[in-house]
């Protein structure tokens, strides 16, 4: 079992190229996702505060 995992991780000797490519993909996509969602939440909170503050 652990041997199969090790063979999978070794990627036929190309581990140093395949895994950074996938890791970077996750980093870039995850980063865009996090950034977009964070600014979305921030603007929504601000809007709610403003609208809540106006209503008596």
């Amino acid at each position: 079992m652990s041997e199969a995992i090790a063979r999978f991780l070794a990627m036929g000797g190309y581990a140093a190229y395949v895994w950074p490519a996938y890791g970077l993909t996750l980093c870039v996509l995850g980063g865009l996702l996090w950034w977009s969602l964070a600014s979305y939440r921030r603007s929504r909170r601000t809007l709610e505060r403003l609208q809540g503050g106006r209503e008596p």
Binding site: Y17, L24, S39
Partner: protein, 253 residues
Amino acid sequence: MNLHRFANPARFMRLSSALLPWCGAGAAALIGIGLYLALFIAPPDYQQGEAVRIMFVHVPAAWMASLVYALMALASAIALIWRHPLADIAALSAAPLGAGFTLLCLVTGSLWGERMWGTWWVWDARLTSVLVLFFLYLGYLALVNAFDEPGRGARAGAILALVGIVNLPIIKFSVDWWNTLHQPASVFRLGGPTIDASMLWPLAIMVLGFMLFFATLLLVRMRTTLIEAKIRVLLLSEIERHAAASPRQAVAS
């Protein structure tokens, strides 16, 4: 169909909030399945071995880089010709995403190239034109943010986006026009794809996943921009209310 029906920001907010969960779930599912197929199921290439697995992230990123630019240019044209308010916002929201995909395409391509060609970078037509695309995205973002009045930046950016579209055919045909290291098209070509079905399927699913991911974030970013516009209006009206209230205070005191 009347396009301006969708120009209404309130309608867009309703429509997008209904679409968002589906897009997001679809993107997560497709990218998850795509990653599984790409890493576990797809066979190693008879020439490139396991290194071919880089293709499943490199090719979708490369297609998205061009596709997002084409969409951005289309939105810019609509914004310039019909003054469609949402088109401006769509182009602005798409640009950072496109820049991200282009960066991804360049770096994964570099990793792949180091393995296959023995070099991180070659100055061939395909690589150079994609690098130019990356700089076009960055230039667009710099231009849009360089003006104190936001509307002016959006309009200038729209013109730049349309000028930069000459780069897209160069990217597409660079592998046919020049003899380059980069391999020619193997999926979209006359006479059908030259790529095996066992690799085409994971690739297609990854591409769809990337597209839905882009659609999700585009909707989120457009919603953010609209909410921020609303915030500005609310803040302005609050200031006006204060300004209207203060003279009376002065009289009372």
